[in-house]
C-alpha cells in the first residue's frame, strides 16, 4: 500500500504514531498528483512549497512532542474559490488575474490549525457556475474513471483529485449540487452541510444564501473527521450559526427503525438504468438493515425548484460579481482612458461566456420592472419549498434520491442546451434552497465502469445523523476505490 492511498484516518494515525512522517505523506501525494495531472488537469495550482513547509512544521511539532492536530499530515486539495493567503486564488476566472489573497478563508485556517497540508487548488467552473468544470478559464478536468467524460462540477477538480488519490480529502463548495454531483460522477463521497454549519468567510461568493463549503473523501469516517474540524461558529460569517456544537462521532445501526422516504413527485422522471439499479440495491440494503421505506410528496419542489433556484442564485451572483471592476485587484487591460471604459473592458474580457450570461440574467431578474415577477416571487417560492421539506421530514427521517438523472456525459457533449443543463440539477438544488444537509454516497460502478452515487437528505442540522446512516450503507456497499484512469500506463 502506497502512502497516497491511505485514508484521512490512516494518515493521521500513521503520522501521529511516527510510522511515517508528514513529509513522506506529502511527497507521496505530490508524486501521485504529478503522475496524473497531465491527463486529469484537476488542479489550477500545485502548491509544492507551501505543502512541504507545512509538512516540515508538522514533523517538527511531533519531534517536540506537541499535539500536531486532528488532521496532522493530511494533504488536502481546496477548490480554487477558497482564499489562501499568499497562494493564487482564481475562482477559475481570468478576471481575478494572479490575485493572491492577503487573508485565509476561515475553513482553510481551521484545516491548517488541525495540521492539514495544502497540496493544491482544485479546478472548477468559473465562479462555481456550471456542473461540468467546462466553464473554467483554465480548461477541462477529466473524469478519473473515464478520461473522455466530465468529472462534474462545479467542484470537479476537488472531486477528481480525491478520486485519483492526490489527497485523501478535498474541500468543495455546493450552491446547487456542486459537491454532491461531482462526488457522484467521480465515485467518492461528498457532503453538503446544513447552511450555517460551516463558515463561508473567505469563500468567493456565487449565490450567498445557497453557498456552503463541504468535504469530499473516500470514506464516510473521513468525512466525519473533517466535518468535526469545519463545523464551528465563525463570527466573521453572520449566517454561521452559533451554539450548535455538532458532534460527528458516528452512531452504529443508525438506520434501524428509521423511515427513509422516496419522493413521489420524482417517480415518473426518466432515470438512467445504472442509477435505477443503484436505487434498487440501496433500497434492498435499507430493508435488510431494518429501515422503513415511506413516500413523501414535494410537489412545489418538483415543479418550481429549478426556476426558483436560478432566479435567486443569479440575482445574488450578479451583485456578488459587481466587485470585479479592475480597480483594486485582478485583470486589467491597461488600455482604457476613462473609468467607464475600464469597467467595460475588464468585465467583458475578464469573465467567460457562462458567467456573463448569468450576470446579465441576474441583472434582468432584479431590474425594477421585473423584480416583483422574478426575484421577489422566487423568494416566496423558496419559503414554500423550505416548508414543504419541513412537512416531509415529519413523515421521514431521511430522503433517498438520485443525484443526477444521467451518468457523466462525454466532454464537449455536455449540455449544449443550457436549460437542459440547468434542469439536470433538479435533484440537488432544492437542498440548497431549503438549507438542508445532503450526502452523496458511493454505491458502485455501472457495467461500463462509470461510478454511481445516490443522495441521502436530512432535516437541517441532521448532518451527523446523515453520516451515521452513510456509514451503515458503506458497510454494505463498500468504500470507494482510487480511480486509476489518471495514471499513465
Amino acid at each position: 500500500m502506497q502512502l497516497y492511498e491511505l485514508t484521512v484516518q490512516e494518515t493521521v494515525q500513521g503520522v501521529r504514531s511516527k510510522k511515517f512522517s508528514a513529509s513522506e505523506v506529502f511527497e507521496a501525494s505530490m508524486a501521485q498528483a504529478v503522475a496524473c495531472e497531465s491527463r486529469l488537469s484537476a488542479l489550477i495550482t500545485l502548491t509544492v512549497e507551501k505543502g512541504r513547509e507545512q509538512a516540515c512544521a508538522i514533523d517538527a511539532k511531533i519531534a517536540r512532542g506537541e499535539d500536531p492536530g486532528p488532521l496532522a499530515g493530511v494533504p488536502v486539495v481546496l477548490k480554487d474559490n477558497i482564499c489562501t493567503r499568499g497562494v493564487r486564488t482564481t475562482a477559475a476566472s481570468t478576471v481575478l488575474g494572479h490575485w493572491s489573497p492577503p487573508y485565509d478563508a476561515t475553513v482553510w485556517g481551521l484545516l491548517q490549525d488541525a495540521g492539514a497540508l495544502l497540496l493544491g487548488k482544485g479546478n472548477m467552473d468559473e465562479f462555481a457556475m456550471g456542473n461540468t468544470c467546462g466553464s473554467s478559464s483554465f480548461g477541462y478536468t477529466a473524469n478519473p474513471w473515464d478520461l473522455t467524460r466530465v468529472p462534474g462540477g462545479s467542484s470537479g477538480g476537488s472531486a477528481a483529485a480525491t478520486a485519483a488519490g492526490y489527497a485523501p480529502f478535498a474541500l468543495g463548495t455546493d450552491t446547487g449540487g456542486s459537491i454532491r454531483q461531482p462526488a457522484s460522477f467521480c465515485g467518492i463521497h461528498g457532503m453538503k452541510p446544513t447552511y450555517g454549519a460551516v463558515s463561508r468567510y473567505g469563500v468567493i461568493a456565487y449565490g450567498s444564501s445557497l453557498d456552503q463549503v463541504g468535504p469530499f473523501a473516500r470514506t464516510i469516517e473521513d468525512l466525519a473527521l473533517v466535518m468535526q474540524v469545519l463545523a464551528r461558529h465563525d463570527f466573521r460569517d453572520s449566517t454561521s450559526v452559533a451554539g450548535k456544537g455538532l458532534d460527528f462521532s458516528l452512531a452504529p445501526a443508525a438506520l434501524k427503525g428509521k423511515r427513509v422516504a422516496l419522493v413521489k413527485d420524482f417517480e415518473g422522471f426518466s432515470l438512467a438504468g445504472p442509477i435505477q439499479e443503484a436505487k434498487k440495491r440501496v433500497l434492498a440494503v435499507l430493508k435488510e438493515e431494518g429501515a422503513e421505506i415511506v413516500e413523501v410528496e414535494l410537489p412545489t419542489v418538483a415543479r418550481y425548484a429549478v426556476a426558483c433556484y436560478y432566479a435567486i442564485a443569479l440575482s445574488e451572483a450578479s451583485t456578488n460579481l459587481g466587485r470585479y471592476d479592475g480597480v483594486r485587484l485582478g485583470y486589467t487591460t491597461g488600455s482604457s482612458t476613462d473609468v467607464r471604459e475600464m469597467f467595460e473592458e475588464v468585465r467583458s474580457q475578464g469573465f467567460g461566456f457562462e458567467v456573463k450570461s448569468r450576470i446579465i440574467a441576474g441583472t434582468c431578474l432584479t431590474d425594477s420592472s421585473r423584480s416583483e415577477e422574478y426575484y421577489i416571487a422566487a423568494t416566496k417560492v423558496r419559503a414554500l419549498i423550505a416548508r414543504e421539506f419541513e412537512q416531509a421530514f415529519k413523515k421521514a427521517d431521511f430522503i433517498l434520491q438520485p443525484v443526477t438523472p444521467e451518468l457523466p456525459a462525454k466532454i464537449g457533449d455536455a449540455h449544449e442546451d443550457a436549460i437542459k443543463g440547468y434542469e439536470s440539477d433538479l435533484y440537488t438544488l432544492p437542498v440548497n434552497l431549503a438549507g438542508l444537509p445532503g450526502l452523496t454516497f458511493y454505491v458502485g460502478h455501472s457495467e461500463n465502469g462509470l461510478p454511481v452515487g445516490l443522495q441521502l437528505l436530512g432535516p437541517r442540522w441532521s448532518d451527523a445523523e446523515l453520516l451515521s446512516a452513510g456509514l451503515v450503507l458503506e458497510g454494505y456497499l463498500g468504500k470507494p476505490r482510487i480511480a486509476t484512469g489518471g495514471v499513465s500506463e
Binding site: 492577503p102 453572520s238 449566517t239 451583485t319 471592476d325 480597480v327 483594486r328 425594477s368
Partner: protein, 500 residues
C-alpha cells in the same frame, strides 16, 4: 382682461446623511479615525470588498442609530433587513452599497420649527436608515497637481463608516425653515450622542428635493439637489433652485425632473446628464435580519439624555431662568450639563446661569473646552455661593475665576494668590489694615488731625486706600467705622502727647 400675478409655493423635502459616532466601521473592526490616518491604512478585506470577505454588523452602530432615531421622535422597527444597492463606481468596493433602505430602523419622526408667522410647526421625518459610506476619490496629475487631472486615486479609509440617512417628508416651505429644521435636528442628534455632527469634518451632508406648487394649479416636477455640506450651502441651494424653477414656471414652461448638483463656489445648481440605471434592491444575503427587541430598546432609551427643548422648558419653569438664558444654555449638551452640575453642587440657578453665560462661555468661545473646563462645576458653585452669602464680592470672585482659568490652580491656591480673604475683612484684620494705611500716610493723618479736612475728602481718601489694601474684600460701612475708630485713637494719642 385682468391678469392675476402667479404665486409659487415651495415644497421641500430634505435628505440628511450623518456619520454615526462609533469606534469601528459598520461591517468590520477597522478604526473610524480618518483624520490622522494615511490613505488606505484603516482598511481590511471586508471594507475593501475583497473576494470572499463577508460583513458582520457592528452593534454599536445599531445603538447609535437607535439613539438618533429616538432623538428625532421616531418609532423603532423591531425587525429590519439590509439590502444591496447595486451600481458601479470606483469608490464603491463591492459594486453595491449595503443599506437598510426599504426597511429602516426608525420611522415617523418629527422636528419642530417655527413657520413664517412664528407658530410652531412639525416637519415630519419619513425614516432614518443605516448604511455604509464609500471611499474617497482624489484626482491628480502624476506630479501631484489637481489641475488637468489625469490620474485618480481612491482612499478606502472612509469605506464602511457608519451612516444614518434621514429623509424628511416634503413639509419644508422655505430655505429658512430648512435651515431651522436641520439646525434643530443637528442639536438633538448631538445631544443623543449618536454623532458629533461636525459639519467641518463632513459628518453631516444634505440633499434637497425642491418643487413648486403654482397658484394656477400647476405642480412642477421634483428636482433633487445634491452636494450641500453646510447650512449656508443648503440655504443658498434651495433659494437658488426656488428662483430657477419660479422663472421657468412663470414663463409657462415645465421643470425637468432631474438630479442637480450644487456648485458652492459658483453658487448655482447644474444638471447632470447621466441617467442612473434603476435596479431593485436585493436582500443582503450575508446579514441575517436585525432584531431590536424591547429589552434592547429600553436599554438604549435609558441612555437617551433629556433633549434640549425639554431642558429649556424645565430651566424656565423650575429654575426661573429667562427664555434667552435657557435657550443659550441648552444649545449645547455639554454647556447645559456643566450648568446643571454647578446647580447640583449648590450654585444658585439664576446667578450660576449668569456666570455660565458670561464668564464660562467667554472662555469657551476663546477656545477653552467645556468638557475639561478648568473651573470645575463644584468650584463655580462655591464661588457663586460665596457671592450669594456676601463672603466674596463679584470682583473678588471674578479675580479668582480668571486666575483658575489661566493657571488651572485649585480654588484655595487661587484665593491665596489673588490675596482675597475668605469671609472678608472685619474686626481686628480690618483694624490692622487701617493702622497700616495710617502709618504709611503720616502727612494725610496730620492734616486730618489738625482739622484741615473740613469736607472729609482726606478721610474718603484713606477709606479708599484701605479698600484697595483689602482688594475689595471689606465692606464699605465696615471700613468707614474702622477708619473713624482709628482716627479717634490717633486723635487721643496726639492730644495726650502734646499735653505731656
Amino acid at each position: 382682461m385682468t391678469e392675476e400675478k402667479l404665486t409659487f409655493m415651495p415644497v421641500i423635502g430634505i435628505e440628511i446623511h450623518i456619520q454615526l459616532k462609533t469606534n469601528s466601521k459598520i461591517f468590520c473592526s477597522c478604526s473610524t479615525d480618518c483624520e490622522s490616518a494615511a490613505p488606505n491604512t484603516n482598511i481590511c478585506p471586508v471594507c475593501m470588498g475583497l473576494p470572499g470577505a463577508l460583513p458582520f454588523l457592528n452593534r454599536q452602530v445599531v445603538q447609535q442609530g437607535m439613539l438618533a432615531g429616538m432623538a428625532l421622535n421616531g418609532t423603532l422597527r423591531s425587525s429590519t433587513l439590509f439590502f444591496r444597492k447595486s451600481y458601479f463606481y470606483p469608490d464603491l468596493p463591492k459594486g453595491f452599497q449595503t443599506s437598510q433602505c426599504d426597511l429602516p430602523i426608525m420611522e415617523n419622526g418629527w422636528i419642530e420649527v417655527q413657520d413664517s408667522e412664528g407658530n410652531p410647526k412639525k416637519i415630519r421625518i419619513h425614516h432614518l436608515h443605516l448604511e455604509e459610506d464609500v471611499g474617497r476619490l482624489q484626482h491628480s496629475t502624476v506630479d501631484g497637481r489637481l489641475e488637468g487631472a489625469d490620474t485618480s486615486f481612491v482612499d478606502y479609509n472612509r469605506s464602511g463608516l457608519a451612516l444614518a440617512e434621514i429623509v424628511s417628508e416634503p413639509d419644508v416651505a422655505s430655505a429658512r425653515e430648512a435651515v431651522e429644521f436641520v439646525t434643530n435636528l443637528r442639536r438633538r442628534v448631538r445631544y443623543s450622542g449618536a454623532s458629533d455632527v461636525d459639519l467641518e469634518k463632513g459628518m453631516m451632508r444634505f440633499d434637497a428635493n425642491v418643487s413648486l406648487k403654482c397658484s394656477d394649479g400647476r405642480r412642477g416636477d421634483k428636482v433633487e439637489v445634491k452636494n450641500m455640506n453646510s447650512f449656508r450651502a443648503l440655504e443658498r441651494a434651495i433659494d437658488y433652485e426656488i428662483a430657477r424653477q419660479t422663472k421657468i414656471l412663470s414663463q409657462g414652461e415645465s421643470v425637468l425632473q432631474e438630479t442637480r448638483h450644487w456648485n458652492d463656489a459658483r453658487g448655482v445648481t447644474t444638471g447632470s446628464r447621466t441617467k442612473e440605471f434603476y435596479r431593485k434592491f436585493i436582500v443582503e444575503p450575508d446579514l441575517p435580519p436585525l432584531v431590536v427587541d424591547s429589552e434592547w430598546e429600553a436599554r438604549v432609551r435609558a441612555m437617551l439624555p433629556e433633549m434640549p427643548e425639554e431642558k429649556m422648558a424645565r430651566y424656565i419653569r423650575d429654575l426661573a431662568l429667562s427664555e434667552d438664558a435657557a435657550a443659550i444654555l441648552t444649545d449645547s449638551r455639554e454647556v447645559a450639563e456643566y450648568f446643571e452640575a454647578c446647580v447640583a453642587a449648590g450654585g444658585a440657578p439664576v446667578r450660576t446661569a449668569n456666570w455660565v453665560l458670561t464668564d464660562v462661555l467667554r472662555c469657551v468661545n476663546e477656545g477653552c473646552s467645556i468638557s475639561a473646563f478648568p473651573v470645575s462645576p463644584k468650584v463655580l458653585a462655591d464661588l457663586v455661593t460665596r457671592i450669594e452669602e456676601e463672603r466674596f464680592s463679584t470682583t473678588q470672585a471674578r479675580a479668582v475665576f480668571d486666575h483658575i482659568v489661566e493657571t488651572g490652580s485649585s480654588l484655595a491656591e487661587a484665593v491665596k494668590l489673588c490675596g482675597v480673604t475668605e469671609g472678608g475683612f472685619t474686626g481686628s484684620d480690618l483694624a490692622e489694615k487701617v493702622r497700616g494705611v495710617l502709618e504709611a500716610n503720616p502727612d494725610v493723618l496730620e492734616e486730618i488731625l489738625s482739622g484741615k479736612d473740613t469736607k472729609g475728602k482726606k478721610v474718603k481718601f484713606l477709606q479708599g486706600l484701605v479698600m484697595k489694601e483689602t482688594r475689595g474684600s471689606a465692606k464699605m460701612p465696615d471700613v468707614e467705622v474702622a477708619v473713624a475708630l482709628a482716627l479717634e485713637v490717633a486723635k487721643g494719642n496726639s492730644g495726650g502727647s502734646s499735653g505731656s
